[in-house]
Subunit: 213 residues, 4 copies
């Protein structure tokens, strides 16, 4: 982001390192058919992020790392549509019976993996997720999903606010447009989360889990 | 944001209009000395945003529109510092006794105007603000403050999630760097809020208040 | 509650009147088959409360008053069971596929009536309900359901905390045991809600809706 | 509570044991001068609960157990008073400048102990407390304070909902009237928390902390 003045962030001591805690989990945000489809909510580098997440999910399962999947679900009759649906009118199409709400086939949850249905961008906003994770003593979240400028950013911010250590997996998050993708990675890395490649983050998380186990 | 692929947002029906409701209030986010000072957390177009907010605040008071001011306050002994302070190490300097935590002189709250102290970016995150505003039946928030990419964005998103109609006053919000300022206005306008000049927004809000009164 | 010293509440100015606002809704908490069945979670005066709620629901529908129904739903695989399920081990049986999770036949939701699935006592705790109701400008909740000492109390308290005016319909709430029922009505009436018979509350709410309409 | 039908709770498998986790803290709810004074909000067994908490606090400090103190604080100008203050009109007297808002002298916080100011019954409702505690990996809360039927109950319920293991110290909680005190201990023990004497709870917590250290 040259020429946009962002060097001031370093001078003001932003961009510190949070670091991982003792108990990581993998949070996969909204990788559903609707967000993978460029004609609905997809496009940009979302398909690449889905592809990069496939081996990460396999690796998390081998390491017995807890996995959380989120999706947007609105009531069939529109009774729970709020202000958000005024801004993004198509959102309320994402009902439980709509195939666009299904997870992409390559990232289907297994039994025992937590699935959070939500109406709003953040995986944490009024979803009950924070309490469930805290009851399991999870303290670190490796975050994949889409979109970087939407549900990933909102979920990452709220993860931090709820006391988790958020690590955004830079190759596993995507957006329908690259400008917002890059701009939001900048904000997240400066203020709310550590940015790591999935390879580096998974290697570190696996090591933590072995030490603890 | 040419060349960044953002035209896809229009094709996917983002950027709808929320519109004002029946009961607007003015929310001024974190215009404190620390955020006005380029050597602390300020810089960029924040000073201009402060200046533009002065007549807006006067106009709101004349119209008897409710006003809410927010600031970040951490405990003197650091006992309530969380993950956020790992990323932005200077934040915990913002204690109640630190003059940097004072509101800028030109935007001091009057008695009866709500002052919300918060530890995190969003004016709403665990601050009690949503319930207080709802008890007064406020349904629309005209939002000024800083930074666009930080506390303004987080507050605007949460305002929407809590069921308010957020209107970002584009001339009254600022950031320490223009790149993030512009990028976040784009995201906010596409997904979470209406973008309006303070002049247009105040004129419309005043009209609403006259009709209701 | 003679002999228990509760006269001190009056001396300390508890038990004030909240009063109705301008936009009431009917909130029916957890009247599902599992909570109606004395062999599962039911018993006491719950059946009587269900019966008393039937005409109230009909009346609300005639008045076009918004109606919200809540139920407890846990994931089939137990992945979202938390601390609550350690205390009440049977709770996690309440999955979507379990007929005990169905609403009692006489109080089935109609299309367009909001159904909130929750994991915890309060209808508001991390359920998204507050934001949805606020977006519709609902400010008053007439509360029926069960149990008085559990989900009704928790929902009523949170309704107040979120800025709603809670009215507990005394004949439409029930508990598996009368001691806790009475004790919790006392607490609610002293500190968190107005207590009214369903007849009086509905009559007043209808009048408010006519004036506004 | 004989004759009130509460034996049904055992038959329905309520009253399970939560147990302590790995990292306990002591939460002291609202032991301020106003709640210790029988002419303001005190009375009943609150003075006895304060007295019983003094050695518990000393013991927690010796064991280096984290301690959290809460109090109610409303703005001097009444700008943040909500529905709760309609029900309990005196509450809004509890401003920061009012000596009634001071902690009782025998339970004053030390530097480094978290002090949470709140407007509502629960220590957790929109106070930021859950996130702060989770960031420190605290998973168990030993709860003292007042009143049993008010802020203690609300805080205990929310502690559970946020994924903590709540232990109510039965000799360290009090109410202005014994009827509500007993009734709420029953509800808490059946549904939301373990009930323990302060002696037993502290002994177990100290043992856990030694094993972990």
């Amino acid at each position: 982001m040259d020429g946009t003045g962002t060097d001031i962030y370093a001078r003001q001591n932003f961009g510190g390192v949070i670091g991982m805690g003792q108990s990581p989990a993998l949070l996969i945000v909204d990788f559903t058919k609707g967000f993978a489809d460029p004609d609905v909510f997809g496009g940009g580098n979302i398909a690449a992020a889905v592809a990069a997440t496939v081996p990460v999910l396999a690796r998390a399962r081998r390491a017995r790392m807890p996995v959380i999947h989120t999706k947007i679900i609105y009531a069939e009759d529109g009774s729970d549509a709020g202000i958000h649906c005024l801004k993004s009118r198509r959102l309320k199409l994402l009902t439980r019976s709509n195939p666009l709400s299904d997870f992409v086939p390559e990232l289907m949850p297994l039994a025992g993996e937590l699935v959070i249905e939500k109406r709003l961008p953040s995986a944490f906003f009024e979803s009950g997720l924070a309490g469930i994770l805290h009851a399991r003593r999870i303290d670190t979240l490796l975050i994949a999903g889409c979109t970087t400028s939407g549900c990933v950013r909102a979920s990452t911010l709220d993860a931090m606010c709820h006391g988790f250590r958020p690590i955004v997996l830079t190759d596993c998050v995507g957006d329908r447009a690259l400008g917002p993708h890059e701009a939001n990675l900048f904000d997240l890395g400066q203020k709310y989360a550590d940015l790591m490649s999935s390879h580096d983050a998974m290697a570190q998380a696996e090591q933590i889990m072995q030490v603890v186990a």
